[in-house]
Amino acid sequence: MSLLRVNNLRVVFETPYGQVKAVDGVSFEIERGEVVGLVGESGSGKSTLGLSIMKLLPPNARILSGQVIYNGVDLLRLKEDELRKIRGKEISMIFQDPMTTLNPTMRVGEHIAEALMYHYNMDKEEAWRIAKEVLESVGIPAERAMDYPHQMSGGMRQRVMIATAIALKPKLIIADEPTSALDVIVQDHILELLKDLRDRNKASIILITHDLSVTADIADRVLIMYAGRILEVGTVEHIYYHPHHPYTQGLLKSIPKLGSKSELYIIPGSPPDMTNPPSGCRFHPRCPYARGICMKEAPPLVKVEKGHLVACWLYIER
């Protein structure tokens, strides 16, 4: 049994401009110890997907249908206090901006210690001792545990965030753009830390990012998301060397390469308005291969080879 299985999840946001279909029928699964990269541009619904797994969506979001099966239990059906026991302890989360995700009036160590105290009924001293150990394991000296967040750099704060996410040894970590707010050198350190985490704790990681290259050396599999749907799933090799979906191909072509003299490729058009998304395949208005059927019907995810799925009419015999 997979650690987590998401079945046909549909999430909408109620906004003054209409209903935004942020996640529209997404299904995937993740195995124990597996790292899955969830790649998509801004507004593709990848962060919403991450938040819905933990049921941490903002009040104007509504889950229309679907299941999030974790260890055989549908998280979407759990009560708030049952969910609370899972959050942090079984599934934890790392957020994008370390400048805003730590409580400014709380010492960094307490972020970790309080979670230990609530989940394990630990006494304060024990919790702080472990908090310091965890901080050291992510490269922060124990004495900095008494610092307030503003006394640390962005990179250090993200390490603290990671420490809060791993302190309870969760089996699944959802990392939502963990490196996007950091500069390149620090990005690299954080990615190393995540890899280390996967090896040491045997945790599964969902790495949400808009940057394909971030997933390249850490992910086992990559999901390509566009306009609330998954367009392609495959191993890193499938996605990088044999991309099938025209969108994935476009994405890869638009990664700048060192030494290349030719102009950078840009996928024509712009991301769809999600209050009124395109009919059929969501990508058809921007797709160079779009045909009649693409406008009428959404293509299902089909297998093109083992472990490689694509949702595109190009690969479906009719």
Binding site: L51, L56, R84, S92, T100, N103, M106, E114, H150
Partner: protein, 338 residues
């Protein structure tokens, strides 16, 4: 926490400087106001020689810088000068009025802060519920109801119909004379001297004016608390805390209220300062002899030295409240340091 100590020391040094600036402004404003205060106070029919005599007596014929020095030196010695009307020292009266106002302001805050804070907190944490609507309704009511009207209604209900509380505010004269003066605040003094009976009587007299003012002020605190809480509760660190499985109540207090306290404290400090001088309507309604009515009377009788002294006291209390608020800021928020 070396930063905190430095911060407090710097604040402590800055406060007297601020008070001096305030005092100078008060002094200058009263000198540049059109019209001769002495002439205005005695009326047009009094002969000029007599006016000159009074001016000389009060030191108003000296050059401006000399008057300023006299004023500041006098203040440092606790001398507020002489009243233009009675031509006698009014220090005693001023200080007792000041103490009474301070007492009323403190009691009103004792009503306003718990009421405003809890209503705002409940409104924000149960947004959209009927409790939230009630809290907002009470908030709007509190700052749209005229304070004297509310005072009169409370007098009518509790004073006349139910007869629980006296309709006049402040300790009755018999109590005032009975209780030894320690701080000037009768409630506190009676408690300090162990006169429980006097304390209870004074408390009874304080209830209605404090409720009236406290309710009016609570609306602002309620609104600020609600807004600040809503803002803080939508911060990323609140979602992050939820993702760690931290219990809801702890998130609301330690992550929510704790971070919302800064704007709440700011408004509470401002309201307190306002209460000190601006409680004229409440003081009139309850015939409470505080600084507000005293200043009103002084203004009406053009007793400029008394006005100057009252404004001076007011300036000092504002500066002091500011100092306290600044220090609490630093205690609440580790980012506030030099």
């Amino acid at each position: 926490m070396a930063g905190l100590r430095e911060y407090i020391i710097v604040r402590l040094i800055l406060t007297p400087a601020m008070v001096l600036i305030l005092l100078t402004v008060v002094f200058l404003i009263l000198r540049v106001l059109p019209g001769d205060p002495v002439r205005a106070s005695v009326g047009p029919k009094v002969p000029e020689e007599y006016v000159q005599k009074i001016r000389h007596e009060l030191g108003l014929d000296k050059p401006l810088y000399q008057q300023y020095i006299d004023y500041i030196v006098g203040l440092l010695h606790g001398d507020f000068g002489k009243s233009l009307i009675t031509r006698r020292s009014f220090k005693e009266e001023l200080l007792s009025r000041f103490a009474a106002s301070l007492e009323l302001a403190l009691c009103s805050m004792l009503v306003a802060i718990p009421l405003g804070l809890s209503l705002g907190y409940l409104g924000a944490t149960r947004r959209g519920s009927s409790l939230d609507h009630i809290s907002r309704l009470l908030g709007v009511a509190s700052y749209s109801i005229p304070v004297f009207w509310l005072g009169v209604i409370l007098q009518l209900i509790f004073g006349i119909w139910l007869g629980i509380f006296p309709v006049t505010g402040g300790a009755p004269p018999s109590i005032k004379f009975r209780v030894p003066r320690i701080t000037g605040m009768v409630m506190l003094d009676s408690l300090l001297s162990g006169d429980i009976e006097a304390f209870l009587i004074t408390v009874k007299h304080m209830v209605l004016p404090s409720l009236t003012l406290g309710f009016v002020i609570s609306g602002v605190i309620n609104k600020v608390t609600r807004n600040a809480m809503l803002e803080v509760l939508s911060e990323d660190y609140v979602i992050a805390a939820k993702a760690r499985g931290i219990p809801d109540f702890r998130i609301k207090i330690k992550y929510g209220l704790r971070n919302a306290l800064i704007p709440i404290l700011t408004i509470a400090g401002l309201q307190f300062a306002l209460l000190m001088g601006g409680a004229v309507l409440t003081e009139s309604t309850f015939s409470y002899s505080g600084l507000g009515t005293y200043m009103r009377d002084a203004v009406l009788s053009r007793d400029y030295t008394v006005v100057q002294a009252a404004v001076t006291l007011y300036a000092i209390i504002v500066a002091f409240v500011n100092l306290v608020v600044d220090i609490i800021y630093a205690l609440l928020d580790p980012r506030i340091r030099y």
